[in-house]
Symmetry: C2
């Protein structure tokens, strides 16, 4: 444990200094632990595809990349110090940090628990600023984080924390829309794409009681899909197999490669809903008839607010759901990035920060 | 009144014999009035844009055009004969026929009142066949129709029947999704495009109690929009005006010209819903971020079933809603088609079949 001093918390992290730079050690100072703050020692941090997009400045100009950048918003760690007014956490607790670490707390979004849509703009966990709009935020590829307890999540687990870390983004990204659109017993749910998001979608939809089908272009993933909890597998490149892909109530589309929305919408039943959580680089041509015939719905979803993220963590703890991960040292971040881009990971890289 | 004889009901209509042919008189025979059938003398029939698409074979190969074609599915007339087992109608009643005249009556869609989605395929009012899949159906550009009372709608009006006719398609097309997605008091509803569908959308959304904005590219339509019941008007080609087009709960998109879905989705508030009822010819590029940011929804909707169409007619009667129409003789069908294509009608052509 590092003591928080008036001048802040000295923190060792791993940063990149430009779109094509390599990651390397980076020393910085987090704010001192205030009365409502909690200091955590980070144990594990997942590598989300959005880390790669931002580290490599692929989302500019929509989302500018700020360097030096310490990515990471799938964070699990242990509480090592709490401020005098903290009530929800105590030293030794396991806690998680997701995609944002603060927000205005007053707008309709903040007061209804969808802080990711704070009208002033929430403070992202990294590649952003604190609500003062000046202090840069650095993410979970680091040894410590200081955060207001309001934005810190309770983790009811002490084992397999490396598998818990990805829940903070991949878990909530899939849980929130599956719940909103009614995944559950009697519902036919398809998960399109079996990567970091998709494999969480399978586990969560199955735990919700839905009949789960994986739609994939990789027949080699069938065995995995079934092991993760899928009841059916469809290779959508195989016509014989694909003709069984009809009548879904929900399709969770986690595919970030270019694909044909119209084809997938055609697999929905009457009033069916396809939820887009993957972000293809280029816009996809949409035919109005694909929606009109069958009163279909194409919906987007972006992570979730703090109350729902806590609900998701509790749900996952209750159903023994963690991500399937490959744990790496910080020295292997570039390799992990390259392999993630090639979908060569089953199903999430997680950096071991505990021993870093 | 023409007596229904064993050999059927001799009917005078107006048909086209090919994609480029002109409309002309066409004599044909409708089925005899069966025990559950109702014979109506058609008084008015609206001209829907889909009549034009099908008469001109513009939807082939998806929807083949069958000639000779007597279009028309916005039909109002008077009951002149009822079969022995008919219970809902009696001679002299005013009644309406919409987009379909029969369905299998047994599938989940039929038994839940969304007969337009009958799994066997409902019998369309024209350019289709009866459920025997052999007898061609001819639409409302004709003097009579014979229909099972189950598919006939009750019209609680005796005046302005020319304005009631378009409710049978344009009315239900806009009513159904506005109701489903919660248009009502406290909701900001935008109607994109002010044509046949759009002008019904304005009247219905305003009657539902919503705050209604018309989004248009024709500033000349502002006065009309307000007369129809809109509270606000935005010329989306004018930057100053367009910047007020934000935070809608619902956008009803009735535009059939090519337009940018992403631009309109950007006008929705958090969890806002855009409903597509217009059908542009070409697919429209959709950016996943347009849906993901704000948890937005893009939904399609296709007319409505018999129970909801009746509900819509009753709602319109209660709120004194009819379409704004220009009544023409059958001799002017081609002229009306050409003007409809140019949006040169405020807001629906209706053929006077009573005096034809």
């Amino acid at each position: 444990m590092i003591a928080a001093e008036a001048q802040g918390v000295a923190t060792k992290g791993f940063a990149t200094h430009g779109p094509e730079a390599k990651f390397g050690p980076f020393e910085f100072t987090r704010r001192s632990v205030g009365p409502k703050d909690v200091l955590i020692d980070i144990e594990y941090c997942g590598i989300c595809h959005s880390d790669i997009h931002q580290a490599r400045a692929e989302w500019e100009p929509v989302i500018p990349s700020i360097y030096p950048m310490v990515p990471g918003h799938e964070i699990v760690g242990r509480v090592t110090q709490v401020g005098g007014e903290v009530t929800k956490f105590k030293e030794g607790d396991v806690a998680g940090i997701g995609c944002f670490v603060d927000s205005c707390r007053e707008c309709p979004a903040c007061t209804t628990g969808v802080e990711q849509y704070c009208i002033k703009g929430s403070a992202q966990t990294y590649n952003s600023t604190e609500m003062d709009r000046q202090t840069p935020t650095y993410g979970g590829y680091s040894k410590h984080y200081v955060i207001d307890e309001k934005y810190l999540l309770n983790v009811n687990a002490t084992e397999n924390l490396e598998g818990v870390a990805p829940l903070l983004c991949a878990g909530i990204t899939t849980y929130s829309p599956l719940k909103k659109w009614g995944a559950g017993p009697g519902k036919k749910v398809a998960i399109a794409g079996l990567g970091g998001l998709g494999h969480m979608g399978v586990k969560i939809a199955a735990a919700m009681g839905a009949d789960v089908t994986v739609l994939s272009t990789s027949p080699s993933k069938e065995q995995d899909a079934r092991k993760l909890g899928a009841h059916n597998f469809v290779n959508i490149r195989d016509e014989g197999s694909a003709k069984n892909a009809v009548g879904f109530d929900i399709i969770l589309d986690t595919i970030s490669a270019q694909h044909d929305y119209n084809q997938y919408l055609g697999m929905l039943g009457l009033e069916g809903v396809m939820i887009v959580v993957g972000v293809p680089t280029e816009p996809i041509p949409l035919n109005a008839f694909s929606l009109i015939g069958g009163n279909k719905v194409l919906a987007g979803s972006l992570i979730g607010g703090i109350p729902e993220t806590q609900e998701m963590l509790d749900f996952c703890a209750e159903h023994n759901i963690v991500a399937d991960v490959e744990v790496i040292t910080p020295a292997r971040i570039e390799e992990a990035y390259d392999r993630t881009v090639k979908s060569d990971v089953r199903y999430r890289f997680v950096i071991d920060m505990k021993n870093a």
